[in-house]
Symmetry: C2
């Protein structure tokens, strides 16, 4: 059995992490609810150095994560090259209702049908990332 070459994981700088965060429109939010940890893909945007997730009023995220610690993850994976990067934001989630005053939300298109009038704003306390470069042949 041949052993393919494997690359080392590299740490990304905060500036690289923010640039990668801003380059995508789907990420994954994780929080701990009564049923344990949950991870779900969500549409998001960036504004005011925070991650803004558009969601519906009946989402478990709104019920379970308001004013709680959450994680937000974005990644990209290339199975052919065995290359990948991922960015992890740790912070606190704040639910924002349509009438709430405050900063202007980013433009975020949501993919599923149905209204998504609420925002869950993840204010980062930490942003980290890592990259696995493609294997050189």
């Amino acid at each position: 059995m041949s052993t393919p070459a494997r690359a080392e994981l590299h740490t990304l700088s905060p500036a690289e992490c923010w640039a990668l965060l801003a380059s995508r429109e789907i990420g994954r939010v994780a929080w701990s609810g009564p049923a344990g940890p949950t991870v779900l893909p969500v549409n998001y945007g960036i504004a005011e150095d925070a991650v803004w997730i558009r969601t519906s009023a009946y989402a478990a995220l709104v019920r379970e994560a308001d004013e709680s610690p959450v994680a937000f993850e974005v990644d990209d994976v290339d199975p052919a090259a065995h290359a990948a990067w991922s960015v992890l934001v740790r912070g606190t989630a704040h639910v924002r209702f349509p009438d709430d005053r405050g900063p202007t939300p980013p433009e975020v298109e949501t993919w599923p049908a149905g209204p998504r009038p609420l925002w869950v704003v993840v204010v980062p306390s930490e942003i980290t990332g890592r990259r696995l470069p493609p294997v050189e042949d």
Copy 2:
């Protein structure tokens, strides 16, 4: 401004969820540690109706998640079609050391360089999934 058509989210059956889980080699594990929730991409395989994650002895996952509730998520996203699916496994993580007796681990190739002699086995208590079909033009 035109409003694009948007599709409804569909619930996947457990059999569909297991088939999608078995179709990938990278997923994301989430757990709650001292710094709050964490989400990281990992190489994994399926054996004995459980998710087997290959990891290193010094991984935070091993230190923080053994015998704890965790979530494991796999998804696929098509930004052009605004289509996606995701599968979420909730369960308990069990660290397995190389000398431990028990079921035979699955074949799992790890992408980063460095030894990954340990397994974190996620035994599901619940498996759920949803699919957002492509938008019809």
